[in-house]
């Protein structure tokens, strides 16, 4: 038998005007297990709170019911009162007789009757409530940042700046990401390397950042505050602890591979650093192109290395990291444009994609900054084709957001470097951003030919002598309404930014949801754009959706702040009203495991029952309703409690 106290609030006249409070109190007092029922003008006031606290002691109450305003208003207040009086806060029930009773009718009889029914429901339920205790867990103070592009670099630097340890995990041999490949940045045209390399260097120098290049995340376990991240260090065949970055090995290496950094437009050695400003400056050996690995002979690098840093026997190794938070900044891939055969990429050597052009502009690039084509000619006419794969229902319906601006940048640079004719073939010019519209205006003055229309095809089939030796871009000019054929020497495609090829795997590892394209889903598009459905995992940059550098850097800074809010505390309070599994009743159907958005339940295969990690549980109850045997108990909203409340509500 419980000892229930019921406190009915007048809320001045807010409640008392329509609900006959005394009648309700008398009704409550006569209910079984109700020891005392009282009324007060403002129960939330200090004397009201004292009344409750006093009664808890005086009548030895083990449950209290406060019939007043909405629980969303004062539940916390009354929970505190109970705790202070020695009663567990979860033994408090709030009955909403204001917002959902006295304020929504003028009929006294109706309001009084409803107030009684609501209190009756609360009495039925209160008997079955159980005390719950919030649990605190230790928080690991370190953060893992996945991805060493500008987003990851920025996040790592921000977190390190407050003295927290960061592990920056990068898959390639260097950090820098796509931004390192760019020559200039829009709209200011400042040199990408000039603004990026100091940051890369800062990462290297920062004692709080542990840089893990040529590494991949292999496994993520645990939960917010306590992640266990397993990192695979891919074999470099060079002992970076010994290497002094003299790069003599690179010079002597006879192996030849295509430079990934230069988008295959230049060669690199088998032992290499991706580009001169790479961080770290220490090389790795590419097995696929290394003469020794291919033919079993060579070992030139080993001979030349004074540090004895070359180690052909090196194997992949694993690093286990504990972290309190994780930031995913894994970036994007450029869409492969080959399948879009109408644009001739891969078929016509004079068709380039955006990143290739970036490398052509760059003074450290394959052409030392000269715009010359694969055949060595300098193009005299160039068409830049927007929206290749973007805004395209057959490929990616979204706008890739950056292409208009970098296409303008290309136009400017091409004009500057070749003085040729430059055409922009666009659907709409999207220039929303600080200084973007101005940049567009500037380009309009620069003798660039803007044609409003999406390029239909690129072909070498000529129709007149003027077109001879050129590529013809066919387009419906939507401004003139005419079909145009534009003969050019060079075609530049602006392909869609798409999720990384392995984004789904990464999402699975981090337990993130992805949108229909594969970009990571934020928790809320407006109010929690950097959080995810997995607590403690945040996202920044183009892994969430296409975005430019300023947006990426802003997000990265924000994600750092989000991660810090978690790791800056030593302990974390867990939701107390979580779900649990009554193992004896679990039939092992896995429904809970399948439906939980937080991956809180998991299958204990040995026992054949599911278990809930309460640190991950948010208490929504989705699993409990999916559980056919009612083995899952959603604390504070158990099947019994909900059905008891229903019974009480329906009695009168």
């Amino acid at each position: 038998m419980s000892r229930i106290g019921v406190f009915v609030c007048h809320c001045g006249l807010n409640i008392a005007k329509t609900v006959r409070v005394s009648e309700v109190v008398e009704f409550a007092a006569n209910l079984p297990e109700v020891v005392i029922a009282e009324e007060y003008r403002f129960v939330c006031s200090t004397p009201g709170q004292e009344l409750i606290a006093g009664d808890i002691k005086k009548y030895n109450l083990d449950r209290i019911i406060v019939a007043a305003c909405s629980p969303l208003m004062h539940e916390k207040t009354f929970r505190k009162v109970a705790e202070a009086a020695g009663l567990n806060q979860y033994l408090v029930t709030i009955v909403n007789i204001r917002e959902q009773c006295s304020w929504v009718t003028e009929d006294e009889d109706v309001a009084t009757k409803k107030a009684k029914a609501l209190i009756n429901g609360a009495v039925y339920r209160a008997r079955l409530l159980a005390p719950l205790v919030s649990r605190f867990i230790d928080v690991n103070p370190e953060v893992v940042v996945v991805g060493g592009g500008i987003a990851g670099i920025q996040t790592a630097l921000e977190i390190a700046a407050v003295g927290r340890k960061v592990y920056l995990v990068e898959r390639t041999p260097t950090i820098g990401g796509h931004m390192a490949q760019f020559d200039k940045t829009f709209p200011t045209l400042d040199c990408s390397a000039c603004i990026l390399t100091p940051k890369m260097d800062a990462v290297l120098q920062n004692p709080n950042i542990e840089l893990l290049t040529y590494c991949e995340v292999a496994e993520v376990k645990g939960f917010v505050g306590n992640f266990d991240v397993k990192i695979r260090q891919k074999a470099r065949y060079v002992d970076h602890a010994k290497c002094n970055a003299c790069l003599a090995c690179v010079e002597k290496c006879p192996g030849k591979g295509e430079s990934e950094f230069d988008e295959g437009l230049a060669k690199r050695k088998a032992i290499y650093i991706p580009f001169p400003q790479a961080v770290p400056q220490k090389p790795v050996i590419d097995r696929e192109t290394c003469t020794y690995f291919i033919k079993g002979k060579c070992r030139l690098c080993e001979k030349i290395c004074e540090q004895k840093a070359i180690d052909y026997e090196q194997a992949d190794s694993y690093i286990e990291i504990k972290a309190g938070a994780i930031v995913a900044a894994t970036g994007y891939d450029l869409m492969d444009v080959k399948p879009l055969a109408q644009y001739g990429y891969g078929r016509y050597p004079a068709v380039y994609h955006a990143l290739e052009i970036e490398r052509l502009f760059n003074s450290a690039g394959p052409t030392a900054g000269k715009v010359v084509m694969r055949d060595g000619r300098e193009p005299q006419s160039i068409a830049i084709l927007h929206c290749i794969g973007s805004r395209d229902k057959n490929n990616y319906e979204y706008c890739s957001r950056v292409c208009c601006m970098y296409s303008l940048k290309f136009a400017h640079l091409l004009k500057e470097k070749t003085h040729g004719d430059v055409y922009q073939l666009y659907i709409d010019m999207r220039a929303g951003g600080k200084g973007y519209e101005e940049f567009y205006s500037r380009l309009l003055e620069e003798d660039v030919k803007f044609i409003r229309g999406k390029a239909a095809t690129v072909t070498h089939r000529t129709k007149n002598p003027e077109e001879e030796g050129k590529l013809i871009v066919e387009v419906d000019d939507t401004l003139t309404g005419k079909f145009a054929r534009i003969p050019v020497d060079m075609v530049v495609l602006a392909p869609a930014m798409k999720p990384r090829a392995d984004a789904k795997d990464m999402a699975r590892m981090l337990n993130l949801s992805t949108d229909k394209y594969g970009f990571f889903m934020e928790k809320h598009p407006k109010l929690a754009p950097l959080s995810t459905m997995t607590d403690g995992v945040f996202i920044a940059g183009a892994c969430q959706s296409p975005k430019d550098i300023p947006d990426t850097v802003s997000q990265a800074t924000g994600a750092a702040a989000e991660a810090l809010t978690i790791v800056s505390k030593a302990k974390m309070e867990l939701e107390a009203a979580t779900a649990m599994v009554n193992a004896a009743a679990c039939s092992g159907c896995r429904n809970c495991v399948t439906v939980c958005p937080y991956s809180a339940p998991s299958m204990n295969e040995e026992k054949g029952v599911s278990e809930i990690n309460e640190a991950l549980c948010k208490g929504c109850g989705l699993c409990a309703a999916a559980c056919p045997t009612s083995a899952i108990i959603t604390r504070h909203f158990t099947n019994e409690q909900v059905m008891a409340e229903m019974e009480g509500l329906m009695e009168f």
């Binding site: 079984p32 297990e33 109700v34 004896a584 019974e647 009695e651």
Partner: protein
């Protein structure tokens, strides 16, 4: 005392019985024949081999209210439900079903404690047994002859009913039965020829063929105890068993029940209702421990209870060979061949 009535006037007989009080009799619906509390004289039928379910429900209903209570403030008030039971007639029970009453009496009345609910109904109920006519073939699942029950035995009945050509013969067996027949003045006297017919039919009932093996109850009891620990045997026998309660619910001698309080809006009844030893949670203890967690253990329990433990305790087999469990088993488990295999192991 022998009376008779034309079969065509069966309705009149029912009418007269209905006038005296509650009557259970076989009624046919679209799914077969079962005992029901009769509302109209036209409902009962005598054209059936046997009912799908056993007639035990007249004495041991599937669900029976014991106490009514109200959870009130301060104290909970309860009152026993012991409404007066009216003298009742159960008409049309086959001899082997009638036999089950004596077997159930041993438990409900002879186990050292009398069950008042059973006793009250037994005291006030008149049983009209119904012999199997000579032209009717016993069902292939039946084996009452193995239990030494004749197809036209009248033991245990108050009145014994038998079809003869166009007539129904009614023999008063007990004083109560004779008293009842005496009240039914519209019945005709049976003739000497009827008398002879009846005697011959009862004797002939012993010669009727059902599935048979020579069952020595005490030897079977011992043998089953010896086989009890042979898990391989029981596991093999139980491999098809789905552990449902069909066999026990249709059995005329299964008597296990559960008791629960059913409360709604603070009003409740304490009720007893059939339970089945084949259910997983039948032996589930409050601690969570279950001494019979496996299907074979439960099937073994049921067989051994009927063919060993009951004999040990009361001296008789707790089975009448009615074949219902076999006929209705969803997976065709057959108690007759199972026991035969165990005994001959």
């Amino acid at each position: 005392m022998l009376r008779k009535i034309e079969q065509g006037r069966f309705g009149e007989l029912i009418e007269a019985l209905l006038a005296r009080g509650p009557l259970y009799a076989p009624v046919r619906d679209d799914r077969g024949v079962n005992f029901q509390l009769i509302r109209k004289a036209s409902e009962p039928t005598l054209d059936f081999y046997n009912t799908l379910q056993s007639p035990k429900l007249a004495w041991f209903p599937q669900s029976e209210d014991l106490i009514r209570y109200r959870l009130a403030k301060g104290e909970t008030k309860g009152e026993a439900i012991s409404g007066p039971v009216a003298p009742t007639v159960v008409l049309g029970m086959r001899p082997w079903d009638v036999k089950s009453l004596a077997i159930m009496d041993l438990l409900f009345l002879g186990g050292g404690k009398e069950d008042p609910y059973w006793l009250e109904k037994r005291r006030l109920t008149t049983v009209i047994g119904y012999g199997l006519a000579s032209e009717e073939e016993p069902d292939g699942a039946d084996f009452f002859r193995t239990l030494n029950i004749g197809a036209a035995d009248s033991d245990g009945s108050d009145v014994f009913l038998l079809k003869k050509d166009g007539d129904l013969l009614l023999e008063g067996i007990t004083e109560r039965g004779k008293g009842l027949l005496g009240e039914l003045t519209f019945l005709k006297e049976g003739t000497e020829e009827d008398e002879r017919y009846l005697v011959a039919a009862k004797a002939g009932g012993k010669d009727r063929k059902t599935r048979f093996f020579d069952l020595d109850a005490n030897a079977a009891a011992d043998k089953l105890k010896a086989v009890f620990a042979d898990n391989t045997f029981w596991e093999k026998e139980a491999e098809g068993c789905i552990s449902c309660g069909t066999c026990t619910f249709v059995c005329p001698t299964c008597h296990c029940f559960d008791i629960a309080d059913e409360t709604l809006f603070r009003d409740g009844v304490r009720r007893r209702f059939w339970d089945a030893c084949m259910f997983t949670d039948f032996t589930l203890e409050a601690s969570g421990h279950n001494p019979r967690p496996r299907t074979f253990q439960r099937l073994r329990q049921k067989i051994c209870h009927k063919y060993s433990f009951y004999i040990e305790k009361f001296g008789v087999v707790s089975c009448v060979g009615c074949g219902r469990c076999t006929r209705l088993c969803p997976v065709n488990i057959d108690i007759f061949s199972l026991v035969a295999r165990a005994v001959n192991l």
